[in-house]
Subunit: 779 residues, 2 copies
């Protein structure tokens, strides 16, 4: 179908021998050219903080140092200064935070640096996804001929989210050596992507006491305070040593030096406990006490105990969310990797946090929140994590409602209409291209849809009464003002929008946008009525709070009944937008290889007037509302639009894979699934060094659960359909549904289920079925 | 009609007492708050150089120093770094050049500075438009109690274009004084609007000899070399003094100091001759000799003789281009001002020059060439200056043809298709908003239309054979590739354009664009045929040069016959674009005053989906091709579109005034004429300090000649129609037409003509008439 993305040997594709374990991602052998990409691949996070897989010791080769404390951002002045009004002036971006992982190492006075040693052998990195840690081992000969063996284990505690732990073990091989460890905390960092080369951090305090050291820094403008701390202990052959650290206290960093004499064959290790306290989640006036207590308790528990906790925490996550694929190790590894990274990025404990496009693996896109969260990540967490996790993603937007109303006001909307930002960190709009910022308004629909999705999946109608309806009302108000009456069409129209297909801008009546607007108005009216019937007190409270009137809902009703949807009678096809059929409708197969990717080969005007589609647009709408359409209609639209789709968004192939499965094209579904699922592991786009494509990782799970197992929730009832790809013997996955854990296996013979919890009525391949708890799987 | 632009007292509106002379613009009284605006209003130019009306002596108040050497530009790196491809990386901008006008003055050791003196009285500035000079006079009491009277006359020679002259005369009033003149040339200047705060000039040499001084500087990157020079002489009571100048030679500037003792009542003056030699027009290796010779000759002629030459040069210009209005001094003054400024900006001597939006009065818009030149300025020069002037504007584009072809190639066009840049200095595109840069392609049509306009007006068909057709072929090739076949419409369409109304972006089938594309294809085919019939040699040469084939012109024919024009049958109306009737069609009268100007009050998306029109779009097309439409159709479209037009471009009111006159709405025409003609003199938009709106000044003349006198050239024949506004007794103007000078008077009694040259057949109010030379006017 001409949909291959060009390959290039400079990227970090996993080697065959590196796909040897379904639960691990490994790197075998040291290749400095892979380092930037590997730093992304092996990045760690625990929801509250994260970091790229930078080496602990010094490294003089190419590296992109990245440590991130979740929620800590800076309003970087935008470079673009258009004359058009209502553009944001600042781009809130996640900050490269002070680093706590540094452990300088000196062997007989020579600094260990893999870029400078005589020889590196047996280099191996392993990301253990089952238990949640990163392991690195190698043997080196330094310039001074000292040969040492090094083993490093690092993890960020899922249980104690302010804390990470590193065990850095050195074994001299060829002689006795003087080993110096120099664990450091350092606030002298800069963002790679600062617009004006500004420094974002002001160091306020540096200090050390015993084995404890810290730097306290504050962000300029936003005033976030962050304590970066460490506490170290040194072991010889497993026995803790009572060494007194030499303190080096600089202007922005603190190091503690430990010196030991070690004989060949003896193992010497430094255990460094470190992390952040952040004023968002911890009281700054008690920073020192809190950090001291935290590290003291952790040190008492010991590295092994902390690691055991970590294994347990991940065990719990996998118990709800694991996916097993038989007969396809590449897919198996990749699916687990995607699930692992998403769970590292967002744990759902804090409603002020969200899912940045790069998670904790880079700075691109400012680490901000996009509609990706609602459209793709939300259903991932909804089915694989307890409902609080998805709920906190909704609460994030609920808490930004006032800002969304202010944002709409800047654009001329009134009376409580809300437009959620295209990109945000704190609820304020950060995006700066008019055709996106002002016009890609379907995001408002996706945010409303997530509320529906949550209620439909969990059955938690209280969420509507307590939070959801307020958001729905404000978004409905937006749609009611954003439409206008077309005398020509005798219907309401929505002019001047950009749909999810960003390769068309400022079009009229984008089907996706009009449809989701219509749905949103109907759903809001319906839920208001339901609340009025079922919970008068809550309804009256909502009325008072929002000031909504009967005339207003009457107007919504009229709009939802009379909104225009572009449709071609002769084709029997919904049209992406009013002018779509005026285009020269060619397929991707008709493009020359040299034309692709279009966004690097064609000028913008040429892309815009071409029929080529960046990512699902009409089809994304059909995916959202698949039940509104007959299977024939779904297939007809898939067969019309997918061949024109260039999939130049990481979010595109996976979504199409789901619909391909639903329309019985499992080969196509499988091909698109593979493109989606191994995007980062195989570095398709040669941009891995910048970080991972975190939000699109959600699609790996969705492709299997919603695609190949046909999972849908219709009116609160789980439906399944077996759509297994040829290549697989079977696949199975776990999911949480309404206080039950369900394990589902799809094989060539059909589907089997194992339920934990109360009996559950489901629909399998169109037939009703009651599942009960048992130790056996059943069909 | 709600078309008032908000007023504000901070702007520099001409006071009533300043409109006291039809041939002058004056400023009475010194007001530092008006200085920035006055520097624009009183700016001088002679086509080859120009400068804002900065004071010669020191001035510590608000000032924006601006001196410009025509054609000297710098490629300033753009600030916008979008990811979209084919955006230009540099914005070529006219440079603030070294200054030669400075004359420091010390009175008894105290520096004269109007910002620091004890008292200023009798301050007066006068721009004498009839004779082309600027006069300034004032009396001051310095802090040292010296009272002096100062008279300054300055002009830039129209005859000797490298040269300007200043006579700075001081008369001590209350006592004898020591006067020191310190004439300076200075290359230490920076552009106000440099994107990256870079310095654009490198000073190469500074020196002085006798009364002659110079700085030689070179622009970085573009390597233009400019010699800025001066030669001074000092007079006491009109008698030249033999003083030896003290030389101060700095790193970037040179001053010569002249000291005199002057008694009260004696007049002492410095005459400074200065200017530029530019490597574009003068050989740098002979710079010193050329400048020495030039200034020596000028000094020999003397200030009075140079001024007499200046008067004569302007007399010649006015002889072709003057306009007289009886009964409306404000309009009279403004019309002459506009004519004066355009003739200062562009003299048509050099085909490498063009007309920047601010002329020599500021730096905004980079001093570059826009389509304003062809659409508005071209007809101005065509009817008021000898044909070489307009011809050189065509040659400018002819010389840029190869660059226009390269520009189109960057956007994916092939085989010699040309897209002229939206903004340029050297033929390369400088503009940086995709919706304009890539999509405002009607500019190509305007450039083709100017060729037609020239040939139709002058009868010079040779121009087509020698230059014009090459450009027409390349532009036609662009259209032929830019259309696509719409299966839906069964016609050719042009998708994704921005019309002249920049308040709509990326629309489909903009009527203006489609119409001018169709016309261009037809006209090119027609002229190719004509050339084939009349001049086979030239035709064959053109065929060889362009490689044009029969198949190609066949395709052009088919496109021109089958191109879609958006039209509403029920309304009987051509539509601005495909989606226009889906808009909520309100008039400007329905807007609140607080909504305006829209571009400062509304977000861009709101403007885009509104019906409001920035400047003539359909109507500009109808203006270009008025003969294609019946008067009824013209009026119907005017009455439909004008009420939705906010006129937020300086080019808008004047164009509408012409059509209002043609449709018999002379009151409306007059109102719009006034808005256009006094835009700068009354500083409507409060932006006068940034410079003048030079290109829109062309409309003042066009409103009268084409509007109120209904002048058109149809198939080479001059047509007139009397459409005099109520407010006027009469108006008359001069024009050049096919080697004749014609004076036309429109009065309440009809029209009278006075012809110099061969007899001329014209059509007056629809009736044929033969004019012959006579000393009397005749009807």
């Amino acid at each position: 179908m001409g949909s291959e993305i060009p390959k290039n040997s400079n990227r970090m594709e996993q080697k065959d021998e590196e796909i040897n374990d379904e639960w691990s991602v490994t790197e075998e052998g040291f290749d400095p050219k892979r380092q930037l990409a590997a730093e992304s691949i092996f990045s760690l996070g625990n929801g509250a903080m994260g970091q790229r897989a930078n080496f602990e010791e010094s490294y003089g080769g190419d590296t992109f140092t990245g440590s991130y404390a979740a929620g800590v951002y800076y309003p970087d002045k935008t470079k673009v200064g258009w004359w058009k009004i209502a553009y944001p002036e600042y781009y809130a971006k996640v900050l490269n935070a002070p680093s706590w992982i540094g452990i300088g190492v000196e062997i007989n006075g020579e600094e260990l640096d893999l870029n400078k040693v005589n020889e590196v052998s047996d280099f191996r990195r392993e990301l253990n996804m089952k238990e949640g840690f990163l392991k690195r081992s190698f043997e080196v000969v330094l310039q001074n001929q000292c040969r040492i063996r090094v083993n490093i284990v690092r993890f960020l505690s899922m249980k104690r989210e302010e804390l990470g732990a590193i065990r850095y073990e050195i074994t001299p091989v060829n002689k006795a050596m003087k080993i110096t460890y120099k664990p450091t905390v350092d606030a002298g960092i800069k963002n790679n992507d600062a617009h004006w080369d500004e420094v974002f951090w002001e160091t306020q305090d540096c200090g050390a006491s015993g084995d404890f050291g810290f730097v306290k820094a504050r962000t300029y403008k936003t005033g976030f305070e962050v304590l970066t701390f460490m506490r170290n202990s040194v072991f010889l052959n497993g026995k803790q040593q009572a060494l007194t650290a030499e303190k080096k206290i600089g202007a922005k960093s603190v190091s503690l030096l430990y010196r030991l004499d070690v004989r060949p064959g003896e193992s010497c290790s430094l255990v460094k406990l470190g992390g952040y306290l952040v004023s968002l989640r911890s009281n700054p006036s008690a920073f020192y006490q809190t950090a001291a207590k935290l590290t003291e308790e952790a040190a008492e528990a010991g590295f092994e105990e902390l690691l055991a906790e970590q294994k347990q925490a991940w065990q719990q996550i996998w118990a709800h969310s694991d996916i097993q694929i038989k007969g396809d190790p590449k897919a198996q590894q990749a699916v687990r990797y995607n699930i692992f990274q998403l769970n590292q990025t967002y744990t759902g404990k804090h409603p002020e946090l969200n899912i940045g496009p790069k998670g904790f693996s880079g700075e691109k896109y400012g680490g901000s929140t996009y509609w990706d969260t609602e459209a793709f990540c939300f259903p991932f967490y909804l089915s694989s994590r307890p409902p609080e996790v998805a709920r906190n993603l909704l609460i994030y937007r609920y808490n930004h409602l006032q800002k969304a109303i202010e944002n709409a006001q800047k654009l001329g909307f009134t009376e409580g209409a809300a437009l959620y930002p295209m990109v945000t960190m704190n609820g304020e709009e950060c995006h700066n291209e008019w055709e996106i910022t002002f016009e890609e308004i379907h995001r408002n629909g996706a945010i409303a849809y997530a509320i529906y999705n949550f209620v439909n999946y969990t059955g938690d109608e209280n969420y509507l009464a307590e939070n959801g309806l307020e958001v729905l009302v404000a978004i409905s108000r937006f749609w009611a003002q954003r439409v206008n009456w077309s005398k020509l069409k005798n219907q309401f129209v929505i002019l001047g929008v950009t749909g999810p297909n960003e390769y068309e801008n400022n079009v009229n009546n984008n089907f996706h946008t009009n449809y989701i607007a219509r749905w949103c108005l109907k759903y809001t009216i319906e839920q208001l009525q339901k609340l009025n019937e079922n919970n008068k007190t809550a309804y009256d409270y909502l009325l008072r709070k929002t000031g909504i009137s009967g005339a207003e809902t009457e107007l919504w009703k009229r709009i939802s009944e009379q909104i225009y949807l572009p449709y071609s009678e002769p084709l029997g096809m919904y049209l992406q937008q009013d002018g779509f059929l005026d285009k020269d409708l060619k397929t991707v197969a008709e493009l020359k290889a040299t034309d692709r990717p279009l966004n690097q080969k064609w000028s913008w005007d040429r892309i815009l007037r071409s029929p080529y589609i960046k990512q699902a647009d009409v089809l994304q709408c059909i995916y959202f509302f698949e039940n509104d359409f007959t299977p024939d209609v779904v297939k007809k639209h898939f067969d019309f639009y997918e061949p024109m789709t260039v999939h130049e968004s990481s979010l595109s192939p996976g979504l199409h894979s789901i619909l391909a499965a639903h329309t019985g094209q499992t080969d196509k579904a499988y091909e698109l699934f593979l493109r989606s699922v191994r995007l980062d592991l195989d570095d398709y786009n040669k941009e891995l060094k910048e970080g991972l494509h975190i939000t699109s990782m959600a699609l790996a799970r969705l492709c299997i659960v919603e695609g190949f197992a046909g999972m849908k929730v219709i009116d609160g009832i789980l439906h399944f359909k077996s759509l297994l790809p040829e290549a697989w013997e079977s696949c199975s996955f776990k999911m949480i549904f309404r206080e039950r854990i369900l394990e589902v296996e799809v094989s060539k013979n059909g589907m089997e289920f194992q339920l934990k919890g109360e009996p559950l009525d489901i629909v399998l391949n169109g037939e009703k079925l009651r599942l009960k708890e048992s130790k056996e799987k059943r069909t």
